[in-house]
């Protein structure tokens, strides 16, 4: 009989690499609660000086779109080029 492995709840980890930048998804870890998740996120994802701020959120609390939603969610935007700001004349002396 195989032993069923019970994992601790899964958490998603977001790291801000430096001030002024956004938090970016770094990966996920297992932990019993928020404090432990924060510590394991620190130990796993910031040991090479990657961050100055950490967010953790329970994976189960994230509402994600599903692959089967993609046709109705994303395809309609595909042919609406007028939503891109490409129809303006940019003044010559404006540096982009």
């Amino acid at each position: 009989m195989s032993k069923k492995i019970k994992h601790l709840p899964l958490w998603e980890v977001f790291i801000r690499s430096k001030r002024g930048l956004d938090h970016k998804h770094a990966g996920s870890i297992h932990a019993a609660d928020g404090e432990q998740a924060l510590q394991y996120a620190r130990d796993t994802y910031t040991r090479r000086n990657e961050g100055c701020s950490i967010w953790v959120a329970k994976s189960a609390d994230i509402i994600a779109s599903r692959p089967e939603d993609s046709a109705s969610f994303f395809d309609p935007a595909g042919d609406k080029v007028y939503r891109h700001p490409t129809f303006y004349d940019v003044p010559d002396d404006l540096k982009l």
Binding site: H7, L8, I29, H30, A31, A32, E35, Q36, Q39, Y40, R42, D43, T44, R47
Partner: protein, 272 residues
């Protein structure tokens, strides 16, 4: 007072009534003890690498072990400089015999189960936290700098093991029993941490070392709070264990050194 050589270190100790040789020897012993504590604690903790209860904690314990070995490197390098006999960090770590190591006995005890490792590390982390907090005000600028760097690590280690004490103590009946037993088994070894000898007293008087009485008070308060939160009682201690300072180690120390030193003993001077 004229000193034997022109090293900057002597400038800090020359206002002392003792001979330069005695005060240098005191400082060497003082730094060596701190280095040995970090080294042996780090070596023991590193045994968990690959064997942690789960992957995340495995990484966490290994990180702490690496912090301790990094601290040992700084301290043993400095000890070698103070001694002035040309010994490097590696000479001190890999080519001394058991009787020459000055770490507390609690550092060398086998890892035991996860509760034992956690309780041991919590006791040490709390000690280190208050110790290095005080040591960052040492008049010895090298020790003060090492302490300031180390303190940040100690703060995190203490937060991590403090959490685990509560988690295990206030967890299931099984985890409570395991951490209770670990605390009871370890408590007799904690008295050595505060057992100041002549070197400690002289270093404290010269404001190089720390006041162990003050640290003992802070440590007792911290431990009392943590044990209360973990629903554990402080065990009655009927005997205490010590001897590490004198090089009188437990039967476990020889095996630890054999493993730690085997590569350099076999191929002296081998580089990574």
């Amino acid at each position: 007072m004229e000193l034997n050589d022109g090293e900057t270190l002597d400038a800090k100790v020359c206002d002392c009534p003792m001979t330069p040789d005695t005060s240098r020897q005191d400082l060497f012993q003082y730094v060596l003890r701190l280095g040995d504590n970090a080294l042996i604690n780090g070596q023991r903790l590193s045994e968990w690498c690959g064997h942690g209860p789960f992957l995340e904690e495995d990484v966490g314990v290994a990180n702490t072990a690496l912090d301790l070995i990094g601290r040992a490197r700084m301290l043993l390098t400095y000890a070698g400089e103070v001694e002035g006999a040309g010994r490097t960090e590696d000479d001190l770590a890999y080519f001394r015999h058991e009787r020459d190591f000055r770490n507390f006995l609690i550092m060398e005890l086998p890892v035991g189960d996860f509760a034992f490792t956690t309780a041991r590390q919590f006791f040490i982390d709390a000690y280190d936290y208050f110790y290095y907090q005080a040591l960052q005000y040492s008049v010895d600028s090298t020790l003060a700098a090492i302490a300031a760097k180390t303190l940040k690590e100690c703060e995190y280690h203490l937060r991590h093991t403090g959490e685990w004490m509560v988690r295990l103590g206030d967890g299931t009946a099984e985890s409570h029993e395991k951490i209770r037993k670990a605390v009871a088994d370890l408590m007799p070894f904690t008295f050595e941490l505060f057992d100041a000898d002549e070197i400690d007293r002289r270093m404290c008087e010269r404001h190089i070392g720390v006041d162990l009485d003050a640290i003992e008070k802070s440590w007792n308060e911290k431990v009392a709070d943590a044990l209360a939160e973990a629903t554990l009682e402080r065990p009655e201690v009927t005997f205490t264990r010590s001897g590490g300072r004198q090089g009188l180690h437990s039967e476990h120390m020889g095996y630890l050194l054999a493993e730690m030193q085997s590569v350099q003993r076999t191929w002296p001077g081998l580089q990574w």
